[in-house]
Amino acid sequence: MNEPFAGVEPMVYQSRISVPYSWWAGDTAGKFFVALRDEKKIMGTSCRSCNRVFVPPRKTCPTCFSENTDWVEVAPEGTLQSFTIARRQLAALPKPAPVIFGLIKLDGADTALLHYLDEVTPEAVHIGMRVRARFAEERNGTIGDIACFSPV
């Protein structure tokens, strides 16, 4: 700051951008969420040429770009690929810290799902641990229909 402005608060224009969005889930995510909500099933799509199962499901294989026409149910249980424990109350966290995030490769899937780990102490979490989905009591067709993953 220049000397003449010493001790003077800089002017700030406060603003907030608030624009409502409605994202259509689309056929593929729609089917995934309906299966979660109504049947507590975790569904993936399969690429026949790459022989890979995608969870969360994708309509088109992101590797070979062929259409993933086959649906498969994967296990609600899987292996923790990585994790972190958010200790600071970062602005994006929707609940009080600490929050444990994990990448979980479910049995039968070839990709990992991002989600919460809970019912475990931060010290006990480790890569390679086996975890299982706990479904929410009230489900409304969102990723929150899985409440969290917890140790088997």
């Binding site: 700051m1 220049n2 800089p10 603003s15 951008i17 969005y21 994202w23 889930a25 689309g26 995510a29 995608f54 969870v55 969360p56 992101p62 590797t63 690929q81 990585s82 994790f83 972190t84 424990i85 958010a86 200790r87 600071r88 970062l90 602005a91 994006a92 966290l93 929707p94 609940k95 929050v99 995030f101 990448l103 490769k105 990709t111 990992a112 799902l113 991002l114 989600h115 919460y116 931060p122 890569i127 969102t142 990723i143 929150g144």
Partner: protein, 379 residues
């Protein structure tokens, strides 16, 4: 590839909070510094590429809002959303197209004016995973754990990156966070998201950078000796974090291989004199070095401990202090390029690596290094 060169660079200081400068003020400062550096005026600029991000700027079509200040009025201006190294790549292709003799590339952001956690949360897929509340720090913390678990890299080795780069920044008058630290200072700093302490993370910053790229004919008339672009390549990985092996960066390996092949480089560790790379977090410096082939997989931490990446080491990395010492998103990769240009000209002041002839600059874009841009520059 036809010959093209970087003939002018200009950057503002990297600061926590540029309260006196708007986006346009920053751009105008960087552009005029680059023009002066090249010994040119705006009349010598054939076209302009601005690089920005609407979410960070909080405005729609943010690139156009700085076009006047970037000297684009009455000129062909185009825009890139993402890191400045990618904006420069586009600027290079415009020169190589033969339609333009010179391209002025700018890149700016002011992290101080919004909330990084909310902005970067919005990079996640709105249908599948945004609601979980992850952001750039928690995402990169997942990657850091995966990388450390696979390679055996230690928290102390990560901390050593912070000590080195903040220490290097003490020689850089444009750096935001010059600091003399110990490994314990880093390990004792606040744990934000395991395994990343506060001092493992780059700060929120404001800055703008401008670079002028020219074809061979136009480079002939510039004030300083041209720095030639010997190789430039970028490559992208899958979008969803769970589709990737987060402990590896195959897109960077491919981008580096392409850039090195273009430049005729077979042994990067021996053939490159200085590296400026995208160290948004400590682990990234080590991971990116391995992915680019500057050392064997899982060995960067040990080499760092041996001092090989220090300013007086065999391969100085981030002698400017890197992003850990100031991280203006978007401008970051373009600043890496400008720092290498200064090194190769011998203009890097107290940060100068003696005898640097050939350098690598690296930019990254997307969560956890989804895409990477690698530049090989030579005097």
């Amino acid at each position: 590839m036809d010959k093209a060169a970087i003939i002018g660079v200009g950057m503002t200081a990297v600061e926590a909070n540029k309260a006196t400068d708007t986006f346009a003020d920053m751009a105008w400062e960087a552009v005029n510094k680059a023009l002066e550096d090249a010994g040119m005026t705006l009349n010598d600029i054939d076209n302009i590429v601005t690089t920005s991000n609407d979410f960070w700027d909080g405005r729609t079509i943010s690139c156009m809002a700085v076009s006047d200040a970037s000297g684009a009025r009455s000129k062909n201006v185009s825009c890139v959303e993402g890191d400045g190294a990618f904006g420069a790549f586009y600027g290079l292709t415009r020169v190589l197209s033969g339609s333009y003799g010179t391209t002025l590339v700018t890149a700016h952001s002011k992290g101080s004016e919004s909330i990084s956690s909310l902005i970067t949360n919005a990079a996640f897929d709105p249908i599948y995973d945004r609601a979980l509340g992850m952001d750039i720090i928690t995402a990169c913390a997942l990657q850091a754990n995966a990388y450390m678990s696979r390679t055996g890299t230690t928290a102390e080795q990560l901390a050593r990156v912070s000590v080195k780069n903040h220490g290097n920044a003490c020689q850089n008058p444009l750096a935001q966070l010059p600091m003399t630290l110990t490994v314990n200072d880093v390990l004792d700093s606040e744990m934000i998201a395991d395994p990343l302490h506060k001092l493992d993370c780059s700060p929120v910053s404001d800055a703008c950078c401008a670079v002028i790229i020219a074809n061979e004919e136009r480079a002939a008339g510039c004030r300083e000796a041209p720095v030639w672009i010997k190789g430039a390549a970028f490559c992208s990985d899958a979008f969803f974090l769970g589709d990737r092996d987060l402990s590896r960066a195959p897109a960077l390996t491919q981008a580096a291989k392409k850039a090195f092949d273009m430049a005729g480089i077979e042994r990067p560790a021996d053939d490159i004199d200085v590296v400026e790379l995208y160290d948004a977090f400590t682990y990234q410096e080590l991971m990116w070095l391995e992915a680019m082939g500057f050392c064997e997989d899982a060995q960067a931490g040990k080499k760092l401990e041996n001092g090989e990446f220090d300013r007086n080491g065999t391969l100085p990395v981030n002698p400017s202090g890197g992003l850990l010492s100031g991280h203006p998103v978007i401008a970051a990769g373009l600043i890496r390029m400008a720092e290498i240009v200064k090194q190769l000209r011998g203009d890097a002041g107290a940060c100068q690596i003696a005898g640097a002839r050939r350098g690598v600059a690296h930019g990254a874009n997307g969560l956890c290094g989804q895409s990477h841009c690698v530049w090989v520059l030579e005097k």
